[in-house]
């Protein structure tokens, strides 16, 4: 599977635009092992988060904090927050994790997914406060309002399928996802970063996207 992914990948020649794309990382065996290790731990993190919700278990909360807080902070820094603001958003995230843990349902999402969803919403609240956009309270913020509504519709069966799909994430998908989560999503920004002509950036992205789509077609990758 990995070899196949490599071949597709070389065909796409996407590597050439990637001084800024840590692709080798997404594809290396070492990293695959790390991902699996995380996946195995995931079950116990899910249990811990559920216990924080049901039993107000502080030990479990501290262990979740110790594992996830440095990762949340890394994400916040990479997504453009400064040191002080990232630190503040980490705190806000975990205070909310504590307060809302009773809403966590391990059948619907992994602990990591849930915690990072909280973090992303807290990040948006912080950015919105920066821009002095009128927000009466966190729960009324735009993304929270729509995201919470949408979250009510999450299917329990998704989680199992996700865990299966996790190990076969094609490199193109991993990379596009990385861009969506961490990078400014304009062609010109990519062009500037990669020092490639705009047209080249567009055509390479198109190729990668076509490959990705082939893998995601119903009856394909899933």
């Amino acid at each position: 599977m990995l070899a196949l992914a490599y071949n597709i990948f070389e065909a796409v020649d996407f590597l050439a635009i990637s001084p800024w794309l840590p692709l080798q990382k997404a594809m290396s065996l070492k990293d695959t092992r790390n991902t699996l290790a995380v996946a195995n731990d995931q079950g116990s993190f899910n249990d811990m988060l559920a216990r924080v919700g049901s039993a107000r278990d502080e030990d479990a909360f501290v262990r979740l904090f110790n594992y996830y807080a440095p990762r949340v902070k890394s994400y916040l820094l990479k997504s453009g927050l400064g040191e002080a603001q990232a630190e503040e958003v980490v705190q806000n995230t975990f205070v909310t994790v504590w307060e809302k843990a009773s809403q966590y349902n391990p059948k619907k999402a992994a602990a990591s997914t849930w915690i990072f969803t909280v973090a992303r919403n807290k990040r948006i609240d912080a950015l919105r406060r920066d821009k002095n956009i009128d927000v009466n309270s966190d729960s009324e913020s735009l993304e929270n309002a729509v995201a919470e509504t949408a979250a009510e519709y999450a299917d329990a069966e998704d989680v199992e399928r996700l865990t299966e799909a996790m190990e076969t994430l094609p490199p193109e998908q991993a990379e596009l996802l990385r861009m969506a989560f961490f990078d400014d999503m304009t062609h010109s920004a990519i062009s500037t970063k990669t020092k490639l002509p705009l047209g080249t950036v567009k055509s390479r992205l198109r190729l990668a996207m076509d490959k990705l789509r082939g893998m995601l077609e119903p009856g394909g990758a899933s």
Binding site: T113, S139, T149, D155, A180
Partner: protein
Amino acid sequence: MKMLTMVKDPLQSLDMLLMRHAARRLGPHESLLVSAAAALNGTIRQRIAQYEAHGAQLMCEEQAQLAAKCLDSVMARIHAPKDEAPAPCADKTKPCPPSPDLFIPDVVHGMISAVCAQKQKQWTRATHGILRIDLNVREQTPVQKFLKLMKMGPQFRTPRHTHSGTEITLVLHGSFSDEFGSWKKGDIVILTDPRVAHQPVAGEEGCVCLTLTESPLRFENPVTRMINTYFRV
């Protein structure tokens, strides 16, 4: 379920839209539209959940040094006595139910009410045979976007229309069909620049859509469009 794809701009594709939604990187307009699509369309819901979970895995890859007192501060805050928190989520004031002639699902109406400024929603005539409601999203984005509800009567044949930039359409009620297929409630259609002729025709129940464009529609010239992405439940 079927997807037809002739991707012109990969950053405008549905998958990229869903990934950015999972990353909470969309502006309020797209965010509303994708959330509404997710509420109506199980496949989109599932794909967003997939991207959220993958995204969380990505975010777990790297760590940053926390400030020394980070955990202490958090523990102090969770132990602090509550200052009479007025239970924010429990009793959200329910938006007024949509009037029947809006033909939009309650869940989508709730989202629109949460995001859009105007209280009164009344159809106004856009052009012969088409009614519309312009939605004013409270939070402005640098790029101007036009979000509206469009309503066509049964069997109505849309005039060809022009617009530059991306157009995203979510079917909320009824159906429409065109050269590329028939699209019903929950289907999402993403179109970009002019290339391919396309003339939607409403189904027997008529059609109500939530539509996002980057320029106002102009119902004048016969102009063709590139069909970028169709996505069917």
